[in-house]
Subunit: 319 residues, 2 copies
């Protein structure tokens, strides 16, 4: 915040230029608050995302909030000095891909100390938040609908597949897409836009071939033109298990083999331009050797020359 104010003072004579550069700003800042696909309560799926240079973040999934923010605060990613302050001030809205506990626990556990904001999700997601988590019996109803008393801290916003919405108090717009996470269970992908740049985040998803679904194919068709135009800045996508896991035991997740198969499809639709887009691997399910074997299988199988990267809790990414 402080840096912004100083810059603003310095740039006052050039205010016209500053205003123009704001409206045409591109790119994103991403702060992973949690990156694992299970077990470790301190490191579950959650990604803060803002237009580059902005402090107005949305939070894509919310498995871990506090423990991730503590790390981010410790490494001085914010001028704020406590996790609570950053959550209150800098997260303007939550986008929940699906309501499995490893994607929402941090939001629920930290809700008593949070301030009023929006939660966005498909009806299937909001219904679970409303009926299972934000209830008087299991917790307290911090939502805007459901069990009485309704504390109305979080306003539920129902998303429509393929329809872009503006996120109040941020520079971002979001288009949601349905994913299949053990068909017919729905998960979501969020295509986030800052002016003419895009970032694609996928929640848990199975491969079309395993899910007997076309949702990923539809998503690739929706983003391929942005790969070609070089406006898609990054893809965040899960690889939960290594290739040893049989298809019948994947429970709506990807392996290196299936991820590379799906990326091959997207690369084809993008005229071979996909290697320009960094693909960040999320949601690895922890075990003694899983991370190493997944990384090896992705490196060996990467015949398309894709730019495969990995996320780390509390380590910012600029795109």
């Amino acid at each position: 915040m402080r840096l912004h104010l100083i810059l603003f003072g310095f740039l006052l004579p050039f205010i016209g230029i500053e205003a123009q550069s704001q409206t045409t700003s591109t790119g994103f800042s991403i702060i992973p608050l949690g990156v694992k696909g299970g077990l470790d309560e301190a490191n579950l799926s959650s990604y803060m995302l803002a237009a580059k240079g902005s402090n107005n973040y949305i939070c894509l999934d919310a498995g871990t909030i506090h423990a991730g923010l503590q790390k981010a605060v410790a490494t001085k990613l914010f001028t704020e000095t406590s996790a609570e302050e950053v959550q209150k001030n800098n997260i303007k809205a939550y986008f929940i891909s699906h309501a499995h506990l490893d994607h929402v626990a941090g939001l629920i556990l930290n809700s008593p100390n949070d301030v009023a904001k929006n939660i966005f999700g498909f009806t299937s997601v909001i219904e679970i938040l409303k009926n299972n988590y934000f209830t008087a019996k299991s917790w307290a109803n911090f939502g805007s609908e459901g069990d009485k008393p309704i504390l109305n801290k979080y306003t539920y916003n129902y998303l429509t597949p393929g329809k872009e919405i503006e996120v109040a108090q941020t520079e971002l717009k979001v288009t949601p897409y349905i994913l299949s996470h053990v068909n017919p269970y729905e998960s979501s992908a969020f295509l986030v836009r800052n002016n003419n740049s895009y970032l694609l985040y996928l929640g848990d998803t199975g491969a079309d071939v395993v899910e007997k679904s076309t949702q990923l194919n539809l998503l690739w068709k929706a983003v391929a033109d942005k790969v070609v135009a070089k406006t898609l800045k990054a893809i965040f996508i899960e690889v939960s298990f290594n290739n040893a896991m049989p298809d019948k035991s994947l429970y709506g997740h990807l392996t290196p083999r299936l991820l590379l198969q799906e990326m091959k499809e997207l690369n084809k639709l993008s005229n071979g331009q996909l290697p320009n887009v960094p693909i960040y691997i999320t949601h690895i399910k922890p075990c003694a050797t899983c991370e190493a074997s997944i990384k090896k299988e992705l490196a060996v199988g990467n015949t398309e020359g894709l730019t495969i990267k990995y996320v780390e809790q509390g380590k910012a990414i600029e795109r």
Copy 2:
């Protein structure tokens, strides 16, 4: 485990003595897996408890499992080298005081990697696990009742107030008592017995005077004789807020003032013998100065000469 086997070999000639000493063993080992009253997903209420010298633990509440076990494993509290192994092998059953997420998140999040065991709780608690958490929509039904498909990893066991039950695969017996946590919402206390020694663990609770309840008074009457007989080895009880928090904002929790008031009552019923029993303070709700102010207020207000102690994640307690 290894130590046990060695001892067993060594003691083979004295097997009669060994058997006798087992049946008259007293005391407990406690390993706090999480101790805070909120926010930090990596450190929420959960206490492993075994008969002293045994590896057969029960888990009292389960807010954080994995992150706490990682700490305990790192400090060599177990011969096992991974948190997953300890959870599978050494935790034989879960006792849940109430089903607020900060007391069950670790159990749910780690359920896919756990093995079959029992969950004990009052009907009010099991109903929430069954209807809100272990459901096909919000997670997967690892329980023994409810939503289909029923995966039947955890067997629900319904407790009756005041009725002692034996915990299979352990040396422990447990008598549960009802607590009031924003009347009429129920929480639980567990009086755990190893032969003739006892340990009392309380989940979240308000003071009788605030809750307009007699549950704590009934509990003090049930354990006072064990204080007098010096068989009660420890009390674990919450102090969530400091004295600045007004009664109407306590939401079923204790302050130093209210805790000391309740302990005064128990001390009276115990003929002034309570100072012999260490009282471990749990569930402090984190804020910048909360822990320090709670400790100060407890020290200043402790006119009965009570033995007040504090718990630390991953730091074993022998009593």
